[in-house]
């Protein structure tokens, strides 16, 4: 029986006392016993800092504070420093500067900043970075966070706030307050783990300890008798189809007869408490018959290899062939051939997957949890439960980052739905950091053989590429990743002869899925490395070589698709040129002992939208009787800021103030399908759907008011929330009044919009038009390499991105800075090693103190088809960084690193092999 102790402390300036189980941490007492959920559990082991609270004014990690420690002390959580109506200047600064993305790290960051500013009211950038060095953020790259703390320092002294533009309607291109940011900054935004319902049961999962095994038997009898246990589910309890996936429904929700990877879900326990559920998991007896496991591609492809799947171990191959590579190589004066390798990657979003499920008043199974693909998940869950889609509803909880890892995450949400459906009671599932590392999809590791030929004038004439990837036992996104990798393997260069083949191979390693870029960060690293080696062989400057081969209107991509204007790739190169010259001069200057400086470039193209697939987005916009505008569009905002962008587009199209627009993008029962948040598609596709709906609504509004006012609708406009007669300063009627009159008359003021662009399926040679539009970009890296230790310090990254139009500039900068941080990690530190990488200490995402300076330059050439000229940018920023860094290492030392991450060991080895 739980033993209770009474403890007393001062919580947010009020005395507080309660009975607690003494073996609890302060974090769990705050979250579970006090009911304050602003301190987050991102790891439970002191690695991430998202649980930070103040004790006697000093920041501590509450996940490592035994609750007895706070007896008699002052504990401050984010709730204690400001509220939605009356935020603290630091909270205001975080919102105004754009330092809040997914928000999972935000309360902890703000509290840490508060403790710093209380002691040191005028900190330097470095002091801020080092004060927050114990707090991880995966979204922002920290730059805006440091900016926000510095801005807060002047706000605290009474300086005026930044201009907010919230009341404007011409907000496209302006940095408005991000929707939902203040809720995150004051700690009231609810993430999956923050949700609860009366009578809720808790779920825990029994997972396979084997990489590959037959399940001989599962005995749950003892576990069922354990105290608090309500039910235990295995594969046989799944009423519908026990499989989900985008291309192939081949991944089981609960293992059926066989496990094919470590961590695969085998049984699900529902119990009164988390503890009871965890205990019962330990009491389930599973008899496994281990099978030979296969991890690498070459073993998996052998004739006599154990079959992981009945159809064989080849998962998917994409071929892209154009021209004749043999002829191309015959024309070439130099041919560069290399094999590149990239590791398994972990998204490392800060919020471990969590959520609840229940049955609603309309008898629907509702899953309320993190996601970046609510409508798709709903359909998958319906199939799993054997229900009609109308009987399943998904509500996206505030989601603490996704980066591709929360797309079709039905291995998680399916379990929630199953338990709620079977038990007809609310249930909750919160995964631990270890579970996230063990079970969620990873970035595909690539082995890439590249052979590239160029004439002595520097024209790339042939490129042959073979890609192999050990992708784990289930398909997930392999077709998409391989296809994108193949179609983008030659980068933004006009190359007439290509032969590309990309194959994903089933193994018993971690399942690989989508991660920011879908295979394109890997090929960008390889292709851009090839470019620099060709440049070196020919004695042509790398920037010049890129200029000579740059795609332009009329160029063909590898799939034969002809690019329509604008193709602003050259513009990104020109935009970086001046910085490049300066960087070269910088590299010539004296550096430290054993330290060499280098400069490198990386360029990229990225097709917007899911490759050759249906991408339809839909939106509904209505004018409400209170004069506010409601946008319904199921485009999941996982921190990247799509809600804000869509609201801006709606405000601008309609001519209403930005702060009069509300959006619901989270509830499948309300918001129409806008497909998943992936492939940088939401600004473009959903933005266009919102634009179409807004234009239709505007027409309705104007025609309704023309009747009422007895004027032609051409003579009327909407201006800042009013109907106005063109050319007069008088406001004829507020929109709210119009809506009320129309409601009485039974005239609906709502309109639908939908958007889709035709793409074509690729033929057997990979020829076709897979994307409606492409974005381009170039990064410049300045690095210092220690030739003794192999240590690489990135000093500065300059990024130029073709974005069409920066609808929400601060948000876009934040996306790019976060992408750069991820790109640096991909280049230098991030590597997931099965069995070894268990947490955020083993897997090294960048900290505040490890960030270089970042300069972002937007190339804004409007895309005619884009909403307000915009394209999309969620992923492009993380593509070229690694290439630029690796090229800079080569520029500094002569050493060519062919395998990522470029750890000191690999850099030293490369220096020994081919350095100067």
């Amino acid at each position: 029986m739980a033993y209770i102790r009474k403890i007393g402390f001062v919580l947010n300036d009020s005395p507080f006392s309660l009975g607690v189980e003494p073996n609890k941490t302060l974090l769990s007492v705050l979250r579970e016993d006090v009911g304050l959920t602003s301190a987050k559990d991102g790891c439970g082991h002191g690695d991430c800092g998202s649980c930070t609270v103040l004790i006697d004014g000093e920041p501590v990690k509450s996940c490592l504070v035994q609750v007895g420690k706070v007896e008699g002390k002052r504990v401050t959580t984010i709730e204690g420093i400001g509220t939605l109506g009356d935020p603290h200047p630091i909270q205001q600064a975080f919102v105004d500067v754009g330092a809040v993305q997914c928000g999972f790290c935000t309360p902890a960051m703000i509290l840490t900043a508060k403790a710093l500013l209380d002691k040191n009211p005028t900190p330097t950038r470095d002091e801020v970075a080092s004060a927050i060095s114990g707090n991880l953020c995966r979204c922002t790259g920290y730059k805006k966070i440091v900016d926000a703390v510095l801005h807060a320092a002047v706000l605290v002294k009474g300086a005026p706030r930044k201009e907010s533009h919230a009341q404007d309607s011409t907000v496209v291109g302006k940095s408005v307050p991000r929707l939902g940011a203040m809720e995150k900054a004051v700690g009231i935004a609810k993430y999956g783990a923050d949700l609860s319902m009366p009578g809720m049961l808790h779920l825990k999962v029994l997972r396979s300890p084997h990489h590959h095994a037959e399940i001989a038997s599962i005995d749950t009898s003892e576990a069922e008798k354990a105290p608090g246990v309500v039910a235990i589910f295995t594969a046989k309890d799944i009423p519908g189809q026990n499989g989900f996936g985008i291309f192939d429904k081949d991944e089981p929700v609960l293992a059926d007869g066989k496990v094919r990877r470590m961590g695969e879900a085998v049984a699900l326990v529902a119990a009164d408490t988390v503890k009871a559920a965890r205990r019962a998991v330990g009491k389930i007896r599973v008899e496994y018959r281990p099978l030979e496991a296969v991890f690498d591609v070459s073993t998996a492809l052998r004739e006599d290899a154990p079959r992981i799947r009945p159809q064989g171990n080849v998962c998917f191959t994409r071929r892209v062939v154009r021209g004749d590579v043999e002829k191309g190589f015959a024309q070439a004066d130099v041919v560069v051939e290399n094999t590149y390798n990239t590791p398994l990657g972990e998204h490392a979003y800060l919020e471990p997957d969590a959520g609840i499920a229940y049955i609603d008043e309309e008898d629907r199974v509702v899953v309320h949890a993190c996601s970046q693909s609510i409508h798709f998940d709903t359909r998958e869950i319906a199939a799993i439960l054997g229900l009609d889609v109308a009987k399943v509803r998904f509500i996206q909880a505030t989601t603490g980052g996704g980066f591709g890892g929360k797309i079709v995450n039905v291995g998680f949400s399916g379990l929630l739905a199953l338990a709620a459906h079977k038990l007809r009671r609310p249930v909750k599932l919160v995964t631990t950091r270890d579970e996230v590392f063990l079970t969620t999809v990873k970035r595909h590791p690539f082995e890439m053989r590249y052979k590239t030929g160029a004439t002595k004038e520097g024209k790339i004439v042939a490129c042959e590429v073979r890609i192999l990837s050990a992708k784990g036992p289930y398909t997930v996104y392999a077709n998409g990743v391989m296809t994108r990798a193949a179609t983008q393997a030659v980068g933004p260069y006009d190359c007439p002869n290509v032969k590309i083949e990309a194959t994903a191979v089933f193994t018993n390693g971690p399942t690989c899925g989508a991660m920011r870029g879908f295979g394109s960060p890997q090929v960008t690293f390889a292709m851009e490395s090839q470019m620099d080696q060709i440049a070196a062989r020919l004695g042509i400057d790398p920037l010049e070589l890129r200029m000579r081969n740059a795609m332009a209107p009329g160029s063909r991509v590898a799939t034969g698709q002809v690019l329509q204007a604008p193709v602003p790739f050259r513009d990104t190169l020109l935009a970086v040129r001046e910085h490049y010259q300066e960087a070269l001069a910088w590299a010539q200057q004296e550096s430290g002992e054993h330290v060499r400086r280098g400069v490198g470039l990386g360029s990229m193209l990225f097709g917007i939208g899911k490759t050759s697939l249906n991408n339809r987005s839909q939106a509904t916009i209505s004018l409400l009787q209170n004069g506010r505008v409601l946008v319904l569009c199921g485009a999941s905002d996982v921190g990247q800021g799509s809600d804000t962008v869509l609201a801006q587009i709606a405000a601008a199209e309609l001519g209403v103030p930005y702060n009069s627009v509300d959006i619901n993008s989270t509830d499948t029962a309300i918001a129409p399908d806008a497909d998943y948040t992936c492939a940088s598609r939401q600004t473009y596709y959903s933005g266009n759907a919102v634009r179409t709906a807004a234009r239709a609504l505007k027409e309705k509004i104007l025609s309704a008011s023309s009747e009422l006012l007895g004027r032609s609708s051409e003579s009327l406009i909407i201006d800042r929330g009013h109907i106005v007669v063109k050319g007069s300063a008088d406001k004829a009627m507020p929109l709210g009044e119009l809506a009320r009159i129309c409601a009485k008359e039974g005239i609906p003021l709502a309109a639908d919009g939908s958007y889709e662009r035709a793409t074509t399926r690729l033929d057997e040679n990979g020829q076709g038009d897979p994307y409606p539009v492409y974005v381009f970009g170039t990064h410049l890296a300045m690095v210092e390499v220690n030739t003794k230790s192999g240590d690489v310090q990135v000093k500065h990254i300059v990024c130029t991105h073709d974005v069409g139009k920066a609808v929400y500039p601060v948000g876009l900068e934040g996306q790019i800075e976060g992408g750069v941080a991820m790109g640096i990690g991909f280049a230098l530190t991030e590597e997931y090693v099965p069995d070894k990488t268990r947490n955020l200490r083993d897997y090294r995402i960048l900290r505040s103190t490890e960030m270089p300076e970042i300069t972002t330059i937007f190339v804004e050439i409007p895309e005619p088809q884009g909403p307000q000229g915009a394209k999309g940018a969620g992923e492009s920023s993380s593509l070229p960084t690694a290439a630029a860094i690796v090229n800079a290492i080569a520029n500094a030392t002569g050493a060519r690193v062919l395998e990522l991450p470029a750890t000191p060991k690999r850099v030293l080895l490369a220096t020994r092999n081919n350095g100067r």
């Binding site: 033993y3 073996n23 439970g44 920041p59 504070v65 035994q66 420690k69 060095s133 003794k788």
Partner: protein, 325 residues
């Protein structure tokens, strides 16, 4: 974590009596190490004895004559910002600046830091190992990038404390108390190689606790350096570290201590290097000799070979920094 209770100790006697009376108990100071061990089920005590509650035990006292007494529950952050430490024992302040994260330094105590367990992957994971009472050490032929290159015993795990090397280099001693009484020993002797029945990196008995740490006055013109090699730029455990403190008279080295961290189960005195330096004038040539001597007798076991070079470099860099001071 298993269900447990806790008591707030009111005095050192109180704490050690609890330790003696309840076999299944552990002291908790900041808890930043203990809670991780408990979450990972490495240890499962029934009773936690809070020592932070002991009156006055967090005090840091300078006696005005150049020595310093540190109460064992003083936090690392408090110690790092102490004026005397910054002025007279800068190598300690330097070590603290790069130990753990800011939030952890606010909780973690000096006593807890000196008593922390190794970070070995096998010890922390669900493996049997020597420190948990089994035979043999998995690290010998397994994951040994982090393992030691000196002081090989039945366990290859290194002592992870960043505070221990500078404190040993400063000639610190610890006051230890048990229900049987109090004793003061040098910090160097506090650490010991785990072997035989001793499954620990310190000599601390079951019912003993660290009461305070004393740093003696340093000789006139004494200078020091602390350097830590990490796999990343900020706060991670050391791959290797060196703390050195050296005093000269007429340019000849009189007194010197060079202590290596994270390369042995205990803070490791590089005695051969010290011998090479003593009574000589510091020159570039001598630095070469001493840094080579620092790795004499190293016995890497596989993936930890890089530590040999690392240590030699650190010692060389450290001594070079002292060349013109």
């Amino acid at each position: 974590m298993r269900a447990f209770d806790y008591v707030d100790a009111t005095s050192v006697e109180d704490a050690t009596t609890f330790l003696q009376d309840e076999a299944d108990s552990a002291l908790i100071a900041g808890g930043t190490e203990l809670l991780v061990l408990m979450k990972n089920k490495v240890i499962n005590p029934r009773l936690l004895i809070n020592v932070k509650s002991i009156d006055g035990l967090h005090r840091i006292r300078a006696d005005g004559e150049g020595s310093l007494t540190i109460g064992s529950v003083a936090t690392i952050a408090e110690l790092g910002s102490d004026e005397v430490v910054q002025r007279s024992f800068p190598i300690l302040a330097d070590a603290i600046r790069v130990a753990a994260s800011p939030q952890l330094r606010n909780m973690a105590t000096v006593g807890g830091n000196l008593c922390q367990k190794p970070r070995c992957w096998y010890y922390r994971g669900s493996f049997d190992c020597f420190l948990k009472g089994a035979r043999g050490c998995h690290a010998l032929n397994g994951q040994n990038r982090g393992s030691g290159i000196f002081g090989r015993s039945e366990c290859y795990a290194v002592n992870p404390s960043d505070l221990a090397p500078p404190l040993v280099a400063l000639g610190a001693s610890v006051v230890i108390q048990s229900p049987q009484g109090r004793k003061q020993i040098s910090l160097a002797d506090f650490f010991t190689l785990p072997r035989g029945e001793l499954l620990n990196q310190t000599i601390l008995g079951r019912d003993e606790m660290v009461v305070e740490v004393r740093i003696p006055k340093q000789p006139h013109r004494s200078r020091g350096v602390f350097l830590k090699a990490m796999e990343r730029k900020t706060w991670s455990f050391a791959q290797a570290s060196v703390a050195m403190q050296l005093s000269r008279s007429d340019d000849r080295i009189e007194d010197v201590r060079i202590v290596l961290g994270a390369i042995a189960p205990i803070p490791w005195r590089a005695t051969a290097a010290e011998d090479a330096l003593r009574a000589r004038a510091l020159t570039r040539q001598l630095i070469e000799v001493a840094s080579a001597a620092a790795v004499e007798g190293a016995h890497p076991s596989g993936d930890n070979r890089y530590k040999v070079t690392l240590v030699r470099e650190l010692v060389k860099r450290g001594l070079s920094a002292l060349l013109n001071t």
